[in-house]
C-alpha cells in the first residue's frame, strides 16, 4: 500500500481471469494520451450492425491500484519454458513478472532503459486469455521513487547489450568492429533457421537459430563511414539516411524483437556487428551485419525521429506506406483486421505475429503495409496487405472489453494457398472461405470446406477454379522476401476485377434491400418543377387510387456476386428457392431439368435480380447503405432480419448461355434417371392442370402435416414401348421385352436411319410374322427389324391397310443429353386396343398426387406438356382391367416414379440437323408457345419470353416420327383430349362467357344450401393468356354482393385485383391476398396463362379460385422507371402504353387550353423544335466503378423545353431527366433508320459503330464542358429553321464538332415519330419557377401553352387507332 493505492499482484489478476482496467489510478503527474475515440460510433446510424452494438467498457477496480514488477524481454532460447506458463504461443511478447507470476505484456510508451528494471505500473488493462493466463497492457508506469530514476539510467553511449550478460562497454567489443548507425526502417518477423539435424537438436551440437532481420537506412557521409565510430551518434544533424543495410539479430539478440519493432522510425546505432555474406536463395547471397555476443544497441539521449521521404498520396497499387486507424473488427482468426470500418488489413502470414493488444477499439499504426485498392465490381475498399516488412504498433490500447485472441492458426494447405495470392485476391479468398463456412454450416463439415494439411478443401478448389494461374505467386521464405522485397513481387497488384463475390444468401438479401433503398433515394433527388411528390405511379381502379408497386431490376454484372446453394421447394411457401444455411431467396428457373437434385449445390453466376415493392419513406431507417458492409457482414455473423416489405427474386437458367450456372457440388452422384428409360412400357400423359398449393382456410384444418400437391393429367390412349438399350453404348444387348429382336445391330448405324420416314418401307407380312408378345404387358407389338428397311410397301399403304388408323407407330427415341438413343413403338394402350379401328379413342383423367418429398416433380410439370411415366406393374394405370376404373382415379407419385417430358420431332427437320441440336417439334401438338406468340402479337409486346437468351428449354426425350405419322398422331391425340382439354379462350370468348356463360371447361356447383348468402359463387371455369398490367390490393369498402360472398367464403377482408390485358382489352381478375396463391414473379409486365378462372354467372367478374393456376410464360425483366425502360424503348413502349391508358384520359393540345384544371392528360404528339435544353454530366454515373449506375444515363438533363404539336395546336412541353432523354431519342440508336440520320454527324460510319456510341459522344461533350445549355433563338415551328446557340460553363471552347453533334441530336429528335406523353398544364407555381430558371439562362417563356411531361412513351399505333376509332364511334 502506498498512499491509499492498493498493490495488486499479477497472480491475483490471473486468478480473477476477468478483463479489468486499472486506469482509474492514472494521476495527472504523467499525462497519457487516452484513446482519442473511445469507440467509433456513428451518430447518424445508431443501428449500425457491428459485432457488438453495445461494447462494454473494461471494468475498473473501484480503487487506485498499482502493479509492481519487472519488464523483461522474451527468451527465444527457451520459448517452451518461458511461455508455456503464460499460455501464449507467441514468443515475441514483453514479459512482466512480479515474483508471483509472469504474464505477457505490452507497453505504450516504452523506454528501453526500463527493460529488466522494476517498475510501478500506474495504469493498465488486463485481458485474460481464454486458455488461461493473460495479458497486461501497461498504459503508464514510473520507476519506484526509491530507485535512481529515469534520469540516472545508464547513459546512451554505453548502449544496451543485445545478449544478456555480455559487456555493456562499447570498447570491449571492438573486435566485432562493425557498427551501423541509421534510421530503422523495417523489421522482419522472427523466424527460425533450421540448423539442428534429427530429432535431438543438441546431439549434433547444432541448434536451430532464431532471428530477425532489420533494415536500417544509413548515411554515406564521411563521418558515418568511419569504421566502428560510435561518436557519430552524438552528431546527428545533416545526415541523409538513404543507403539500406540489413542487420540480422540472431540467437539471443532475437529477443529484442518487440523493442526493435517499437523503434521503427528512430535513428539508432548498433555496434559489435559482424559482416557476413548470407546465402538467401539458391544462388543469391546478401551482405548483412550479424549481431555478435558483444552487440550493443545505442540510443540517442533525445529520440530523433527519422522522417522518411514519404509520398503524400499513396496510389494504392501495392505501394508501401503507413496507416493509422482504429480497429473496428477482427475476423477470420485475426487474419483480417477491419480499421475505421472501411479498411481491411490482411495478416494472413503465419509468421506475422501481432501483439495481443490488437483488439477492437485499439488505435494502431501500421508501417510498411501495402496499400491495395482492388477494382472489384462489388465493392470499393482499401486493403492493407501485410508482408514480412510490416510492423504494427499500438498508439492506444482499447478501453473496450474485447477479447484478446491468441494465435491458433495452423499452416494448412488453405493457409499456404492464401499466402500464395496477391493481396486483393487474398481478401476475395478469405471472404470466400468465410462465406462457405456460413453457407454450408450443417451441410458440409468444416474439414470438408477448409481442407486439411494434406487435402484441399472445397473453398480452395472453388477458388482455384476461378483464378487464373497468373494470380499465384511463389513464396520464398522470410530472408529472401525481406531482402529482395521489391523483386519478389510483393505488393505487385494486378487487377482482378472480374472476381465475383460469393455471398451467403442472407447477406445478399440485406444487400438487395440496401440497394433498393439506394436506388429509390437517388430517384427522389431528381428535381421537378411540378413539385411532384409522388414519385411513384398510382393507378385508379373503380374510382379509387392505389399505389403501384415499383420494380427495380439488376443484372448480375451490376451486383458482381455469385450465389451458391441448393434449389429446393420451400416447405413454408411452396415456392422454388435457392437455399443455403443462412437463408433462402425465391427463384424462377424456367429450364429446370429433370436431373435437378435438391441435394446438389448449384452455382448461379448469371442471373437477373428483381426487387418489387411499394416504396415507403421510412423504409431506409436502419438500413446501412455503405458498400463495404458487404465484406464486413460476410466476415461477421449477423442474422438476417428482413427490414423491408420487398419482394426479391432471381431469374436464371440452369443452362445459361455461357454455361456459368452449373452444378457445383454433387451431394449424391446423379446418375440421371434416363437409365430407367432403357426399356418397357411408358404411358403417355398430358398434364391438363396443376392445382396450386392448398390454402389454409381460416378455421379449417385442411392441411395435414404431410401436405400434397395435385396435378390433373390425361392418360392418352397411346403408350410408348422402348425396345432396349441404346444403340450407342451397348448395341448388342437385347432388351427382355423384345425376345425375338434381331441380335445383329449395326453399331455404326446412324440413328436417323431408325426414324421411320416417308421412304421407310414396311413389309406388312414380314412385320406380322415377327410380331411377338410383350412379356409382362400382354401387348402385341410389331418389332422393328433391319429387314424393315428393305420392305417394299410404304407406310402409307400400311396405314390404308389399318383403316387409316395404325395401332402401332414405329419411332425413334433420343434423350436430350444423348444418353439414350433407341427405337421404340407408340402403340394404342391396352384398353384402347379393344376399341375398333376408326373409332376415336379418348383420354382419361387421373389425379397425380405429389407428397412433399416429391414436390420437385410437381414443380417440373408444365401444363399442357406431354410426359411419359415409368410403368410399374403395381400402378393403377396398368393393373386395372377396365380403363374406366381409372377415370378420375388418383396416382400417387412416389420417389420411384419418373416422369419425363416429351417432345415430338418430325423427320424433315431432323434431316438438316445433328444430334446435339435436336429440334423441338414445331408445335408440340397443343402448343402453349403458339398461344403466347398469338398473345404477344395481339398486344404488340415484345415477347420477353422466359427462354429468351438461354439455350432452348429442352424436353427430356424426343420422339422422332415421320411427318405423316406425326400429323396422324397429332390428330389422334387432339381427338383423344377433345372435350377434356379446352383450348385457351380469346377475349371475345372471355367476354361472351362473362355475359352468356357459354364456355364450359368445368363448373363450380352451388353448395346446395337454400340460403342465398351461403351459396358458393357459381359459374364457368375458363383459361386464357394475358398480359398483366397491374396488381393491386383492394379493400372491401364498397361492398358488392360478390364481395360479401367472397369475404364470407374465404374469410378475407382484402383481395387482390389483377388487371390483365387480353386481346387489347382489360379484364380484371379478383383473387385472394395470400401470397401463396401467386407464382414467384407474378406482377405487372408478365405474360401469364390463367388456368381455370371462375367466371361468376351473370356478372362480368372473374375470380381466382383456390384451384386456379397461374403459369407465367414470359417476364419483362425491366425496371419500371430508371433502368431498362431507358435502354429499351421498344419494351417500354408496349408496356407503358398499356399501363398508362387506363389511368389518364386522352386529349388534344387545343383542348387543354380551355380546361381550367391542371389534371394530367395524355397527348399524342411530335417534337417540332427545341426551346431550351440543359445537359450536364450525371454525377451518379460519373464514376465508372459505380456498380449500381451502369445502366443509368450518363448524361443528365435537368431541364428541357420541347415544342410539341399534335395537329390541333402546339405547346411547349417541359420535362427533365430520363423523359427528356427519351424525347431527344438519346437511347434510340436503332430507330435512326426512320430518319436516316446518323447522330454522329455527316461523317460516314458503319451502323454498328454508330450504335451505342452517340451517348458516348454526347457524354464526352458534357464531360468536357460540365454543363451545356442549348437555346433556340430561331423558329419554334420549323425544325430546319431553328437557330441554336450553345453556352457552356467551362472555359473550354465549344468546338464545331461538339456543336455539330448537338445539332444533329436535336434535329434527330425533331424528325422522329409521335410520342404518347402524359402531362399536365403547368400551374402558376410551376410557371414561376420556370420563369426564374429561364431568366437565369436569359431566355423567355414562349407565348404558348406550357405543359409538364411526367411520362413519355413510344405510341402504339394500333392501340391508338382503336382508341380514336372508339372515340369517333361514341
Amino acid at each position: 500500500m502506498e498512499g491509499g493505492v492498493k498493490v495488486i499482484t499479477v497472480s491475483e489478476l490471473v486468478q480473477r481471469a476477468r478483463p479489468l482496467t486499472g486506469a482509474s489510478s492514472l494521476t495527472l503527474r504523467r499525462s497519457i494520451s487516452p484513446p482519442s475515440e473511445p469507440y467509433p460510433t456513428d451518430p447518424n446510424n445508431p443501428n449500425h450492425p457491428t459485432l457488438n452494438p453495445n461494447p462494454k467498457i473494461l471494468k475498473s477496480l473501484n480503487h487506485p491500484t498499482l502493479i509492481i514488477g519487472t519488464l523483461t524481454l522474451p527468451d527465444h532460447d527457451k520459448p517452451s519454458a518461458s511461455n508455456s506458463a503464460l499460455r501464449c504461443p507467441q514468443t515475441n511478447c514483453f514479459l512482466f513478472s512480479d515474483g508471483s507470476s509472469t504474464i505477457c505484456c505490452d507497453v505504450l510508451d516504452l523506454d528501453v532503459r526500463i527493460i529488466g528494471k522494476k517498475i510501478h505500473v500506474l495504469a493498465w488493462n488486463y485481458i485474460p486469455f481464454k486458455s488461461g493466463g493473460g495479458f497486461l497492457e501497461i498504459i503508464t508506469w514510473r520507476l519506484p521513487e526509491s530507485s535512481s530514476g529515469v534520469g540516472k539510467f545508464s547513459s546512451s553511449s554505453s548502449g544496451f547489450p543485445l545478449v544478456s550478460g555480455s559487456s555493456t562497454d562499447y570498447k570491449d567489443s571492438h573486435k566485432a568492429c562493425y557498427c551501423v548507425r541509421g534510421a530503422l526502417e523495417s523489421v522482419s518477423p522472427v523466424s527460425v533457421v533450421p540448423c539442428a539435424t534429427g530429432t535431438a537438436p543438441n546431439s549434433s551440437g547444432l541448434r536451430n537459430i532464431c532471428g530477425f532481420l532489420v533494415q536500417i537506412l544509413v548515411c554515406e557521409c564521411e563521418s558515418c563511414s568511419v569504421r566502428g565510430s560510435g561518436k557519430a551518434l552524438q552528431y546527428q544533424n545533416n545526415h541523409c539516411f538513404t543507403k539500406p543495410l540489413i542487420v540480422y539479430f540472431c540467437g539471443s539478440a532475437s529477443s529484442w524483437h518487440p523493442v526493435i519493432s517499437k523503434l521503427i522510425g528512430n535513428v539508432v546505432m548498433l555496434s559489435g556487428l559482424k559482416k557476413k555474406l548470407v546465402i538467401i536463395g539458391e544462388e543469391e547471397s546478401q551482405l548483412m551485419y550479424v549481431t555478435t555476443e558483444n552487440a550493443l544497441l545505442h540510443l540517442p539521449e533525445v529520440f530523433d525521429k527519422y522522417i522518411p521521404v514519404s509520398k503524400t498520396v499513396i496510389k494504392a497499387n501495392g505501394e508501401c506506406g503507413m496507416y493509422t486507424g482504429t480497429i473496428t473488427g477482427i475476423y477470420m482468426q485475426r487474419m483480417v483486421v477491419e480499421l475505421d470500418k472501411e479498411v481491411f488489413l490482411l495478416l494472413t502470414d503465419q509468421l506475422l505475429t501481432m501483439p495481443h493488444s490488437l483488439r477492437v477499439g485499439a488505435i494502431v499504426s501500421m508501417r510498411n503495409v501495402h496499400f491495395v485498392k482492388p477494382k472489384f465490381c462489388w465493392t470499393k475498399i482499401l486493403v492493407l496487405g501485410a508482408c514480412f516488412k510490416t510492423s504494427i504498433s499500438l498508439k492506444s490500447f482499447s478501453p473496450i472489453e474485447t477479447g484478446c485472441c491468441t494465435y491458433s492458426q495452423s499452416q494448412s494447405l488453405l493457409g499456404k494457398f492464401i499466402n500464395s495470392l496477391a493481396f486483393s485476391v487474398r481478401l476475395w479468398v478469405l471472404l470466400l472461405v468465410s462465406s462457405f463456412r456460413k453457407k454450408f454450416t450443417g451441410i458440409l463439415t468444416d474439414k470438408h470446406i477448409l481442407g486439411s494439411k494434406h487435402k484441399e478443401g472445397l473453398a480452395q478448389s472453388y477458388a482455384t477454379s476461378h483464378l487464373p494461374s497468373s494470380v499465384f505467386q511463389s513464396r520464398h521464405g522470410v530472408f529472401r522476401e525481406y531482402c529482395k522485397h521489391d523483386s519478389c513481387g510483393c505488393g505487385n497488384e494486378p487487377n482482378y476485377d472480374k472476381l465475383k463475390l460469393v455471398v451467403p444468401i442472407s447477406n445478399f438479401i440485406s444487400h438487395c434491400e440496401a440497394t433498393w433503398m439506394k436506388l429509390l433515394l437517388e430517384g427522389e433527388t431528381d428535381s421537378d418543377l411540378m413539385n411532384n411528390n409522388e414519385k411513384y405511379s398510382r393507378l385508379s381502379c373503380e374510382g379509387l387510387t392505389y399505389s403501384q408497386s415499383t420494380r427495380r431490376v439488376l443484372h448480375n454484372e451490376d451486383i458482381g456476386v455469385i450465389l451458391l446453394g441448393s434449389v429446393k421447394i420451400s416447405t413454408s411457401s411452396g415456392r422454388l428457392q435457392l437455399i443455403d444455411a443462412t437463408g433462402s431467396i425465391d427463384v424462377i428457373v424456367p429450364d429446370l431439368p429433370s436431373t435437378w437434385n435438391i441435394d446438389n449445390i448449384y452455382e448461379v453466376n448469371e442471373f437477373t435480380l428483381v426487387m418489387e415493392g411499394i416504396p415507403e419513406r421510412g423504409d431506409c431507417m436502419g438500413l446501412n447503405l455503405n458498400e463495404s458492409l458487404l465484406c464486413r457482414n460476410i466476415f461477421s455473423c449477423i442474422p438476417l432480419v428482413r427490414k423491408l416489405n420487398l419482394e426479391i427474386y432471381l431469374l436464371y437458367y440452369f443452362r445459361d448461355t455461357k454455361f456459368r450456372n452449373r452444378p457445383f457440388y454433387f451431394c449424391i452422384k446423379n446418375k440421371g434417371n434416363i437409365e430407367e428409360l432403357q426399356s418397357g412400357r411408358f404411358p403417355l400423359l398430358l398434364v391438363a392442370h396443376k392445382y396450386p398449393a392448398q390454402q389454409k382456410f381460416q378455421g379449417e384444418q385442411v392441411i395435414s402435416k404431410s401436405s400434397s400437391r395435385f396435378a390433373e393429367a390425361l392418360i392418352l390412349p397411346w403408350d410408348l414401348f422402348l425396345r432396349g438399350k441404346d444403340l450407342h453404348t451397348s448395341p448388342t444387348k437385347v432388351a427382355p421385352d423384345f425376345p425375338n429382336e434381331s441380335k445383329h445391330h449395326d453399331a455404326s448405324r446412324n440413328y436417323r436411319e431408325c426414324v421411320p420416314s416417308k421412304r421407310y418401307k414396311i413389309d406388312q407380312a414380314s412385320s406380322r410374322d415377327l410380331s411377338s408378345g410383350l412379356s409382362g404387358c400382354g401387348h402385341k407389338l410389331y418389332s422393328l427389324r433391319n429387314s424393315c428397311f428393305t420392305s417394299t410397301s410404304s407406310y402409307q399403304e400400311q396405314k390404308c391397310l389399318n383403316l387409316s388408323s395404325p395401332s402401332e407407330i414405329p419411332c425413334f427415341v433420343t434423350s436430350h443429353d444423348q444418353c439414350l438413343a433407341s427405337s421404340g413403338i407408340l402403340c394404342r394402350s391396352k384398353a384402347n386396343a379393344k376399341v375398333s379401328f376408326g373409332c376415336k379413342t379418348s383420354a382419361h383423367k387421373v389425379l397425380l398426387e405429389f407428397k412433399d418429398e416429391n414436390f420437385c416433380k410437381y414443380e417440373l410439370l408444365r401444363v399442357r406438356d406431354y410426359y411419359i411415366m415409368k410403368h410399374h406393374q403395381e400402378d393403377i394405370l396398368c393393373t386395372s382391367e377396365d380403363i374406366n376404373d381409372v377415370t378420375c382415379g388418383k396416382v400417387i407419385i412416389t420417389s420411384g416414379t419418373h416422369l419425363w417430358s416429351l417432345s415430338f420431332s418430325s423427320d424433315e427437320v431432323l434431316q438438316n440437323t445433328n444430334l446435339s441440336h435436336l429440334p423441338v417439334f414445331a408445335d408440340t401438338f397443343v402448343s402453349s408457345n403458339e398461344a403466347i406468340s398469338d398473345c404477344s402479337q395481339q398486344n404488340e409486346l415484345p415477347p420477353v419470353r422466359l427462354n429468351v437468351d438461354c439455350p432452348e428449354i429442352h424436353p427430356d426425350i424426343y420422339i422422332h416420327l415421320s411427318t405423316d405419322v406425326a400429323s396422324f398422331l397429332k390428330e389422334e391425340l387432339m381427338a383423344a383430349v377433345e372435350g377434356l382439354l379446352k383450348p385457351y379462350v380469346s377475349l371475345e370468348e372471355v367476354t361472351d362467357t362473362c355475359c352468356n356463360g357459354t364456355m364450359m371447361t368445368g363448373s363450380v356447383q352451388s353448395s346446395g344450401t337454400s340460403e342465398p348468402e351461403f351459396n358458393l359463387p357459381e359459374g364457368n371455369l375458363i383459361s386464357f393468356h394475358g398480359h398483366v398490367l397491374t396488381v393491386h390490393s383492394t379493400n372491401l369498402r364498397h361492398k358488392s354482393p360478390i364481395d360479401v360472398h367472397w369475404a364470407k367464403i374465404f374469410q378475407v377482408t382484402n383481395r387482390v385485383c389483377i388487371h390483365v390485358l387480353v386481346d387489347q382489352h382489360i379484364v380484371r381478375i379478383f383473387g385472394a391476398l395470400s401470397k401463396h396463391a401467386y407464382p414467384i414473379g407474378f406482377g405487372p409486365g408478365i405474360h401469364a396463362t390463367f388456368h381455370r378462372i371462375l367466371v361468376v354467372s351473370g356478372q362480368n367478374v372473374l375470380f381466382l379460385t383456390p384451384t386456379s393456376f397461374i403459369a407465367i410464360e414470359a417476364i419483362a425483366v425491366v425496371g419500371d422507371k430508371y433502368i431498362d425502360k431507358y435502354n429499351n424503348p421498344s419494351v417500354a413502349s408496349g408496356q407503358c402504353n398499356v399501363a398508362s391508358f387506363d389511368t389518364f384520359p386522352s386529349a388534344l393540345i387545343c383542348e387543354t387550353m380551355q380546361c381550367a384544371e391542371c389534371k394530367p392528360v395524355q397527348f399524342r404528339c411530335r417534337v417540332v423544335a427545341v426551346h431550351i435544353l440543359v445537359l450536364e454530366q450525371n454525377k451518379k454515373s460519373a464514376n465508372p466503378q459505380s456498380r449500381l449506375h451502369t445502366r443509368s444515363p450518363v448524361v443528365n438533363i435537368p431541364l428541357a423545353g420541347f415544342i410539341l404539336e399534335d395537329g390541333s395546336s402546339s405547346c411547349c412541353c417541359w420535362t427533365n431527366s430520363d423523359r427528356a432523354a427519351t424525347l431527344l431519342r438519346l437511347q434510340d440508336e436503332f430507330s435512326h433508320e426512320n430518319t436516316g440520320i446518323s447522330i454522329r454527324g455527316p461523317k460516314k460510319c458503319r451502323d454498328d459503330e454508330a450504335r451505342g456510341s452517340s451517348i458516348h459522344d454526347l457524354y464526352k461533350v458534357v464531360e468536357k464542358h460540365g454543363r451545356v445549355i442549348v437555346k433556340n433563338y430561331g423558329s419554334m415551328f420549323d425544325s430546319s429553321h431553328q437557330d441554336l446557340t450553345f453556352s457552356v460553363n467551362s472555359d473550354t471552347v465549344f468546338s464545331s464538332s461538339d456543336e455539330d453533334l448537338l445539332k444533329y441530336v436535336i434535329l434527330n429528335a425533331c424528325f422522329g415519330t409521335f410520342w404518347t406523353i402524359v402531362g399536365s398544364r403547368m400551374d402558376s407555381n410551376a410557371m414561376e419557377k420556370l420563369e426564374k430558371q429561364l431568366t437565369e439562362m436569359e431566355m423567355k417563356i414562349q407565348p404558348m401553352q406550357n405543359i409538364w411531361a411526367r411520362e413519355v412513351n413510344y405510341a402504339n399505333p394500333l392501340y391508338e387507332a382503336r382508341k380514336v376509332a372508339q372515340e369517333l364511334l361514341n
Partner: protein, 168 residues
Amino acid sequence: MDALHNTHAKLLAFDFVSLTPTASDPTAFHRKGKLLLTRAETVGVITTRELKPNKFLKFAVDDGTGCIPCVLWLNHLTSPYFSRRSPPDVRRIADVAARFASQIQLGVVARVRGRITAYRGSVQITVSDVIVERDPNVEMLHWLDCIKLARKCYGALNLSPHDQNRLS
C-alpha cells in the same frame, strides 16, 4: 384559330387539295373559306417520284382519299434563300434533305410534314421532314386522326356524297 396557324394540320388529301390561297398572306391558306392554315402533315403511299438532282424532288402522297403533291428542295447549297445562314447549318440541312430524298421511294408509306404552298394554281406541301413508316397501322391512325381533328378542331367535316363513298 391562331393556334392552328403554325401547326402542321393533319388533313386527308381530298381536304388538302381543296385549300385555297388567301389574298393577304401568301403563306396562309383557307380551309372552307374560314380556317387559316400554313402547315400540313400527311401519311400515305408514295405514288410518283420525280427527282431533279441538287434541285428538288417532286413526289405525291396518296392517302386513299387523293394525292397530295409534295416538293422537297435539294438546292440548299446553291439557293440564295439560305445564304444568310451559316454554311455548316446549310450543309446539315442539305444532308438531311438528301437523306429524306433517298428514302422517298415509290410504294413506301411516308409521313410528310411541311409548309402549304401554291404552285401553278394548286396546293402542295413544301416538305420539311419525312418519316418512312413501317407499321401499317399508322396509316389508319392518321385517317382517324384527320377525321377527329376535322370534327373537333378544324370545324365540321362536310363530306360530299362522293367523298363519303370513298371513305366508306
